[in-house]
Amino acid sequence: MLEAANRDDHFMSLTQPGSGGPTIVATFDAARSEVEADALRGAGGRAALERYSDRVDAMLRQLFADAGGHELRVAVIALGGYGRRHLCLQSDIDLLVLFEGAIGAKDERFVRAFLTPLWDLGIVIGHQVRELDDFTRLEINNAEFLLALLDARPVAGVRSLFDRFRTLFHTPSTHAYILKSLLELVDQRHGAFNSTLYQLEPDVKEAPGALRDLTATRTIAMLTDPLLLRRGPADPARVDQAEDFLLRVRSTLHLGAGRNQNVLSHDMQERTADLLGYPGAEPRQRVERLMSDYFRHARIVTRALDWARKSAPVPVGPNLGLSREGIRFLDPIVAARNPASWIGAFQAAIDHSTDVSEEALSCVQQHVDRYRADDFFPEAADRAALLRLLTPREGLYARLSEMHDCGLLGRVFPEFQAISWRVVRDFYHKYTVDEHTLLTIRNLERISATTRPDRVRFRNILAAVVEPELLVLALLLHDVGKWRDDDHALESVRMAVDVLDRLHLKGEARETVLFLIREHLRMSLIAFRRDTEDPEIVKTFAAFIGTEERLKMLCLLTLVDVEAVSPETLTPWKEELLWRLYVDTYNHLTQRYGDELIERNQAGLDELLKQRPDDLSPGEITRFLEGLPQRYLQLFSREAIYRHVRLGRDIHPDEVHVSLERGEAAIWTLAVTTLDKPYLFSNICGVLSSFGMNIIRGHALTNPNGLVLDVFQFTDEERFLELNDEAHQQVLQILETVVSGKEDVTRLLKGREQGVLHSKNASRFAPVVRADNEASGRYTIVDIVANNALGLLYRISRVISRQGCDVDLVLIATEGGKAIDVFHITKGGSKLTEAEQQSLTSDLLRTLEGSL
């Protein structure tokens, strides 16, 4: 059975070993005689060469069978000119002998048995013997071989093996590499001919306008846009005629020279002109006619190549090409069947600062109604791509408008379709609801690149938003509820829930989007209609907002939303009010939260106790929470809080309880509980730095019982935790030994600190250190903005401890290369005196400047 199945899979397996047909020599001689006769008649063009190639195919199949190829998992594949069925009389026969698995002794015997008769016939064989696995990696050191593989054609053996080879070989990245190499090879080759086709003795294979250029033209089209040549200025039939002519000439050259010689030299010109039947009394006249025809054809080829080079879309993604008209689907038929690929066209247009071509937009428009929302993002990767598209940057508004115009936006988000061309009459809005919405996104996009001095402050806020695409998603949906006439914010939230379900957006990201939509009017109401100089108003607003991240997003949303109402609505006056509310709220969130502690009857506490897992008692939870800042409840999810409570259980002096988890985007979260002691915070930071961890966000909190909870988010750029099984344990052990004082963290850091001091990442701005006793009732607040560097927090906190201060609360943030840290500190249980503040800030500045 196995044998039979194996045979069925064999390409042209009808040929049987020793089937009694003519001998190989005779077969080959007959084929050659035929093609020689064609050349002699001046008819050695395409048809003749195809016949000759077919005869050679048949001969190879016979040899394959005779050599026992049918017993093996092997395929013989024609490459290059032979693959194209343009085998000339004296051309090499390029073959790929492809084995499915590792090549064994039996396989090697087959290769010898298969090739030896060919060598005996004096045929020059260019052969490669490979295993299928070889094609899982791109071979980048042999561009000519890769080009020859593009013409691969199965001749004998297992057909499915050929198909698998094709699948492995034809990938977008391989195509892109081959295209790049091909263009380089063409330039080099042209250089060797002084880049002119008008050669008196042209090489009909290599010269500009000759056969290789013709193949290059077709290859460029094949790799980028199969219909490219049909769009060109030259009639494809004329290119075919040029090819036939060049092949006929080449056949006469091979016939005359008896070897693979392609130069149409002066002596060969007369003979070729005669064989091709050019009229004229004198040989000179016949030669002139031949050469004039040659140059005419070579010019057609050159023009076709130039056109292809200029017009070929650059592959920029699966089935996507960048052309002069913008982003195109290389194969519109494939695109029409694959709606999940459409978002990619708009992403590519943004990436390449271009439009989506009219042709692609028409394709989308024509087919969009066949699909439902889910069809556009069936996989997690598609959903991630859709979110990525929403990153605010130049071109986003234009692309979303194109998507809207061709009906795609309303299909991807049917909720958005509900406000298409929707007119709501009020005193302020000047545009339809859909356009107002898209304009908010345009305004945000403009902020992302603005250089206007009064706007740079908002650009900086945007640059600091961790997931700006969520802000754009919220903008896109903030007014969808306006399809109805009542409270639109709540209706928008209701509709947004469906969108977020389809996008599988969960957790904090989901809550943030819903919060922004629900509250999209709140900040403008407070900024423009309330007395924001009243600290109580700011305090209430800050408590409502909860975190700086939400504040940043709501501030930007408010700004762009007001601006999109009409050109006059957002005045510098309003901008200033909004900015001030932002700053006051930001300061409240980062500096005053230490004064607002969780109390027994705290809002939200009941829910936390009610939902608690079985292993936690209410007493345990309240003991842990009481005295922590209220902000803690807003910063962490219920699950995280329960984890922290468990972590704080039964803790003894010198003990460190640690949980270490890897989150999304390779960000690790380390939660540490321990009992407070001098240098604790700097020691923990030091340990993380000693492992090369880059701390990007974090919070240090202390409760009145001296229990410390530090939560750090960091990246592990050296992949220490990922690559070492023992890493978790090692970090824990070192933390314990350092915190208990058995190990000095400075020793661990020695090598690392050297690296930082000598790093090329020199300072781009002077560090800012500011101490303040006004902001908080309990703490001296130290604001620090400095270049982020490995060990920065360690160095800062060490100075603070050295000055005899206690680190009570810390807020850690980074924005690009900037570290923004807010320390809440005391000395002997009180705020610092003026002199102590002075001494601390100068010490800190010296440390920070010393590490520039």
């Binding site: 423009f528 209609r529 309330r530 007395d531 924001t532 100089e533 009243d534 005045t571 006056w573 309003k574 200033e576 009010l577 001030r580 700053v583 006051d584 930001y586 300061n587 800012v768 250190v769 500011r770 303040d772 604001d783 620090i784 903005v785 923004i820």
Partner: protein, 109 residues
């Protein structure tokens, strides 16, 4: 006639408008303005850096009323716009020499 020019906190506009409406004063001009009084603003701090905020956003409301109404209007504005804190604003009363209606060119008495 008197021109009454009120510089008030932005959030007090609605209350002042309501108070004026109670006096049957319908016509007014409302402008977003920026300025400072005696205090010359204050210093705002954002991320450790000081920003001098010398010009504070205020609203300016202008009404023109008959001489005999001017006192009531001033009282109403002061009452509506007052918080008792620094920055509540000012009311100025200016004489108006003549007034014309643009549509008709007619001089108003």
């Amino acid at each position: 006639m008197k021109l009454i020019k009120c510089i008030i906190r932005p959030n007090k506009v609605d209350e002042v408008k309501d108070a004026l409406a109670k006096l049957n004063i319908a016509g007014m001009t409302v402008t977003e303005v920026r300025g400072h009084g005696k205090q010359k603003g204050h210093t705002a701090i954002y991320r450790g850096k000081e920003y001098n905020v010398s010009l504070l956003p205020k609203m300016e409301i202008e009404v023109v009323v008959a001489d005999n109404l001017a006192d009531d209007v001033v009282k109403a504005v002061v009452q509506a716009a007052r918080t008792g804190e620094i920055g509540d604003g000012r009311v100025f009363v200016l004489p108006v020499l003549e007034s014309y209606r643009i549509r008709t060119g007619e001089k108003e008495s």
